[in-house]
Symmetry: C2
Subunit: 314 residues, 2 copies
């Protein structure tokens, strides 16, 4: 067990920063938690709901004396947020972040804060909500947090940050930044792009009204709308920052979709059946991994509220 951090500073108090603030206060009661957000409204709200012990009006004041600084701003704001800390940091403070892309973020932070120890991280946990009211202390429990330290990162610092995330309830994994970006392109970035696309396509059809799309969404579409309700700024930044991996996975997806399209066109039921059978195995593994639960519909069985308390069937 490494030495826990005495003072954690959080920059950006949205869903992720707010959740870290709450989780740190709950899990590390000895640690002081300070924070800053660029928006005055967010700072006010954060004070009301206690996302940190103290919310400062400048980034420099927030990181003063901190051992760990976690940047929780949109991916393309990381460089600027880091630059604002220059001169205000303890020399041995560890700088980390929670950005959804790692290679570009690591580069931006390192360039803005030369000489400082930078250990990028990405907690793979989230909801479609954002802002200071969206956070909750349990967000990271049983979720993975991926650390992408550079080859020359000090092992002690990596160990300290791993323990911090373990204290948040997360399971920690170490990975190369570039590999992280490819894995997340598949498991998160491209799924989001596809969801945004199909929701847009549905809204734009001439022969089907938007009212009809909304009414009959229970057939599968509503899951896509949930994903496509995620924050536009965050996701614009993700796609621009992880361009290469996203485009590579998209290319593969388009080829695979064409193959199924062809099977439909030519009435090739066997190809469809085989493909649909393969994908079930993936679902089973995810449930076994504990990354989801097997209740059909995730409790949406409470179609009228009445069935809410029934035990899961599977």
């Amino acid at each position: 067990m490494t030495k826990p951090f005495n003072h954690v500073a959080i920059i950006g108090l949205g869903l992720i920063g707010g959740s870290i603030g709450l989780a740190t206060q709950a899990a590390l009661p000895e640690a002081r938690v300070t924070a800053f957000d660029a928006s005055e409204d967010v700072r006010d709200r954060a004070r009301q709901i206690g996302l940190a012990h103290e919310i400062m009006d400048t980034p420099a004041a927030a990181v003063d004396g901190a051992d760990l600084v976690v940047l929780c701003v949109p991916v393309r704001a990381m460089g600027e947020a880091a630059a604002a800390l220059k001169g205000a940091l303890k020399p041995d403070a560890i700088i980390s972040d929670v950005g959804s892309c790692k290679a570009s973020v690591a580069e931006a932070i390192t360039a803005a804060l030369p000489g400082q120890t930078v250990i990028p991280a990405h907690p793979v946990a989230g909801t479609e909500h954002s802002g200071p009211d969206a956070g909750f202390a349990e967000l990271f429990r049983n979720r993975w947090c991926i650390l992408t330290p550079a080859d020359d990162a000090p092992a002690a610092a990596v160990g300290q940050l791993s323990d911090f995330w373990a204290a948040m309830g997360a399971r920690v994994e170490i990975m190369e930044a570039k590999h992280h970006d490819l894995v997340l392109a598949v498991t998160s970035h491209v799924p989001h792009l596809i969801a945004y696309t199909i929701v847009g396509t549905a809204s734009d059809l001439e022969d089907v009204t938007r009212g009809e799309v909304i009414k009959y969404s229970a057939g599968g579409f509503r899951d896509f709308t949930r994903i496509a309700a995620s924050d536009p700024t965050m996701w614009r930044d993700v796609f621009l920052s992880n361009k290469e991996a996203v485009l590579e996975v998209l290319q593969r997806f388009s080829e695979d979709l064409s193959a199924l399209q062809r099977a439909i066109r030519w009435g090739d039921g066997d190809t469809l059946f085989d493909r649909f059978t393969e994908t079930r195995a993936v679902r089973r593994s995810i449930i076994e991994e504990g990354q989801d639960d097997a209740r059909p519909d995730f409790g949406r069985r409470d179609h009228s509220g009445a069935a809410k308390d029934q035990p899961p069937k599977n």
Copy 2:
């Protein structure tokens, strides 16, 4: 209020047929419910869990004396299931079904049972599970059920079937079969095809292991795996039976995806931001319509079970 059915027969006792059996027994205690399924195992199981008052060993015995027969088999088995009832039906029995496509199913049933009153229907409700154990009586509550009667269908029969579905808890809508097939292509069929595709793409990548895909699925991918765990037979049939509308919507989707792909390639953040902003409105409307709930993550906030009983935040 029309005369309720005295005797309802169900052919096919999977998720939908089983749910109708349970819901009818609960909502219409005066009605007799009989049923048949092609599989002996399913019939045995259905008897154990009481999906109907009596489970018969032949289709003819199941529909003997019934006023309403509901076919609940895969879309491309509808014609055969209907043909098996020939000669066993009361002349004034109403034949309905629950198939996910309507034009092709209406044609198959009408051809198999000339002279019989056929009123096709589609309850827009489901889960990714199938089989006799998947059913539950509340499945249709507050969900839409779309009836697609032919122009010359007797109004009294349409009214009786509407009341039946209202008794199941559903909200009933009347629509042309062809229009139904286009609407559902958008809200259900194409989303399923896309989900099957991306889960397949992810499983096949060389540089990302399947274990990694599964571990980091919480980033968005797991919602797709749930959809892609749906029954392969059912979905093969849907795509083959609603080919035209599915291919039309797929074409539009591919064009829209290409546009976003181009925006990423050229770093056009404004196009991405605008598109992502538009899609949020659709989500809000679905929640207002009551077709989903606003809790982030649908109760998956119980990352460790502990937060399970917290009230929704939004």
